[in-house]
Subunit: 355 residues, 2 copies
C-alpha cells in the first residue's frame, strides 16, 4: 500500500455580515480582496495548493456561490469544487468533503480543513506548520494554534497541554471567546493559543468521531457513501443534516487532540478594524483603500470600493468608513463588530437588496 495521500478541504461556504457593506449574501467575505492583490479565497487556495498540490485541494462551498468561486479560482480543477446542496455550517461541510477525498484516496487519506477567509502574512512559516500538522494527522486530530499577539476578545482560544514531540502539544481544552480580563490572563499565561479553525485528521478518524458525536450526520454521510447515485442522495439528505460547526460538533468533544503552535501573521479579518492589522498604513495610522482622501484623519480605515463613490474624510480619529455603490458604513473603529446590528436592522426592514 502506497503512502496515504493528503487533501485540503478549503471551507468557502460562509456568508458573513461582518464586513458589510462589502460582504453580502451574494458576495461573501472570502471573495473580497480588501485592498490586497487577490481575494482571500484565492490567497488561501494558493497557499494550500502550493503545499498539497491543486489536484489535492478541494473547495467546499454553498451551491449558490459555486459559480463565483469557480470564477475566483481559475486554477481549481472543476471536479474539486464541491457544492453543498444546502448551507449546514462547517460540520456537515467537512463530512461532505471527507467523503469526496476518501472516495478518491481511501479512508486513511489525511485531511487539512482550512477556512477560506483568513489572512496570513507569513506564507513560508505557514507552509512549514501546515506540513507538520498534515504529517501528524496520520496519528491524531491536530489543529494549528496561533500565538496570541494581544488580548483579543473576538477569537476562540485553546489551552496547550503537554509536549508530544517537537512543535506538537496536547490540547488541554478549547475555550469560547473570553471577556477582556480573561483574554489578558490568557495572553499573560503563555499557554493559550487562538483557535485558527484549521483541523487535521484522517477521513477515518473524522467518520469515527462523527459517528460518536453527530450520529445523525454520520447516518446521512453513510447513506450518501453507500448510494449508487451519491449526488442525488446528497441532494435529498444533506439538507436535513444538523446545522453545526466542526468546532462545536466534533472538536470540542473529541479527545486526544494535538496542536501545532505558530506565529505566521494570522488574522481572521473579523471586522473592518482588522484591516488596520493587515494592510499598510499612512503616516497617521490610516488604512486607505481605493478612491478616498483623508484630511487631518488618524487611526482610521477608509475603504472606497471600485465602482462606488469617492470618499472624503475630514478631521476624525479612529473611524471606519466603507463605501460601496449602494451602501455606506460609518462606525467607530473599536465598535466595528457592531455592523451586525445594522445588518439585522436592514433585514428587519426587508431591505434584501442591501444584504
Amino acid at each position: 500500500m502506497s503512502k496515504p495521500q493528503a487533501f485540503a478541504l478549503v471551507l468557502a461556504g460562509g456568508g458573513g455580515t461582518r464586513l458589510w457593506p462589502a460582504s453580502r449574501r451574494s458576495r461573501p467575505k472570502q471573495l473580497l480582496s480588501l485592498g490586497g492583490a487577490e481575494s482571500l479565497i484565492a490567497a488561501t487556495f494558493g497557499r494550500v495548493s502550493r503545499v498539497l498540490g491543486r489536484e489535492h485541494t478541494l473547495v467546499v462551498t454553498a451551491a449558490d456561490q459555486a459559480e463565483a468561486m469557480a470564477r475566483a479560482l481559475p486554477e481549481l480543477p472543476a471536479e474539486n469544487l464541491i457544492a453543498e446542496p444546502a448551507a449546514r455550517n462547517t460540520g456537515p461541510a467537512v463530512g461532505l468533503g471527507a467523503l469526496v477525498a476518501a472516495r478518491r484516496a481511501g479512508d486513511d487519506v489525511r485531511l487539512a480543513v482550512i477556512p477560506s477567509d483568513a489572512f496570513i502574512a507569513d506564507e513560508i512559516e505557514f507552509g512549514r506548520l501546515l506540513a507538520v500538522a498534515i504529517e501528524h494527522a496520520a496519528e491524531a486530530i491536530v489543529t494549528i494554534g496561533v500565538r496570541p499577539l494581544r488580548p483579543e476578545t473576538g477569537y476562540g482560544y485553546l489551552q496547550r497541554g503537554a509536549l508530544v514531540r517537537e512543535g506538537v502539544f496536547e490540547v488541554a481544552r478549547f475555550v469560547e471567546k473570553p471577556d477582556s480580563a480573561t483574554a489578558v490572563r490568557y495572553l499573560a499565561s503563555g499557554d493559550f493559543l487562538w483557535n485558527s479553525g484549521m483541523f487535521f485528521f484522517t477521513a477515518r478518524r473524522l467518520f469515527d468521531e462523527t459517528a460518536a458525536h453527530l450520529p445523525e450526520l454520520a447516518a446521512i454521510l453513510a447513506a450518501i457513501r453507500g448510494s449508487a447515485d451519491p449526488i442525488a442522495t446528497a441532494r435529498a439528505l444533506y439538507p436535513r443534516a444538523p446545522k453545526i460547526s466542526i468546532d462545536y460538533g466534533i472538536m470540542e468533544k473529541a479527545s486526544d487532540i494535538r496542536v501545532v503552535p505558530g506565529a505566521f501573521g494570522w488574522n481572521d479579518v473579523g471586522s473592518w478594524s482588522a484591516l488596520a492589522d493587515i494592510r499598510a498604513k499612512d503616516g497617521k495610522g490610516n488604512v486607505v483603500i481605493g478612491d478616498a482622501l483623508a484630511s487631518d484623519v488618524a487611526g482610521s480605515v477608509l475603504v472606497a470600493e471600485s465602482g462606488g463613490p469617492f470618499v472624503g474624510v475630514v478631521g476624525v480619529d479612529d473611524l471606519v468608513v466603507v463605501a460601496t455603490k449602494d451602501a455606506v458604513l460609518v462606525v467607530r473603529k473599536d465598535r466595528a463588530q457592531e455592523v451586525r446590528a445594522l445588518v439585522d436592522a436592514l433585514a428587519a426592514k426587508q431591505r434584501h437588496e442591501l444584504l
Copy 2:
C-alpha cells in the same frame, strides 16, 4: 406720479462648496432642498413674491445656471430671470438687476436685494420685516439684521446705532466674522446683529453709491443703460466688471445705513452642521435625511441623497455624513466648514467630475 414700485433682486448666482458633495458647480447650494419640501431658491422666491408679487421679483443668476433656475422656479416670469454674462460676485449682479428694475419702473423704484440660499423659519415675521425695510428704502439704505442666538463666528455682524423710528436703527458699522471671544462679546452686548446680506435702497441711490465707490462698475452700467442693444453691450462689458461683493464694495463704504432688526429663524446654512439648527431632530439630536439608519448615534447629521447609496452609521457622536451617488463626505460636525480643504484638494488633483 404714482407711488414708486418695489422689486426684489434675488441673488442666485453663487457657486458654493460649503455643502459639498451635495453642492457642485453645476448644482449650487440654492438648488438644494436639504431635507425640506422645496429648494432654498424656491422657498426664497415664494417668501419674497408673496410680499412683492412675482411680476416684481427678479432673479439674477449665472448664465450657466439659468436653465436650472428656470426649472426650479416654474412660477418665475421668464423675463424676470436675469442671466449674468459672467460671474462677477454680488456687486455687479445687483447693478445689473437694478438696471432692469429701473428700466421697468424708473430710478425711484425700491429694490430688495435678497440672497437666495438662506433658510428662514418664521415666514410671517420675515414678511413683516420685509415690508418695513422696503417702506423705509425710499429714504435710506436699509438692511435687515438678525438678532444673534449664539456667538457665531461664521457670520458677519453689524453694530446697531441710534433709533431712527420704531423698528429702524442707524447702522454704526459693519464688522467681519469675529473670533470666538469677540463673538461672545457681541452676543452679550445686545448691540450686534448678524448681517443677513439683505439690502434695500432705490435704484437711484444704488447708482449714486456705485458711482462714488465703484466707478468702473458705474461706467459699465451706464454704458449698458445708454446702449441701443443693452444685452449685447452687457455681454461685451459685464465680464470686465470688478469682482466684488455688494457688502465690501458698497455697503461698508456708504454712510447713513439703517437696520431693521428681527428674529425670524434665519440661517445661512453655511455648512452641513447648520442642518442641526434648521431641521427636525430625532430623540438623540440627529438630523437624518433620506435613506439612512443610525444605531447608537447622537448629535449627528446624516444625509443620504436620493439616487445615492444607503447610509448606515453606528456608534458615533457629533459627526456629519453626506452621501451622494458619486461622493461621500465624513467630517466632525464642529469642523464641517473644513470641507473646503477637501474640495481644494480635489481641485488640485483635477477631479473636475467631483467639483
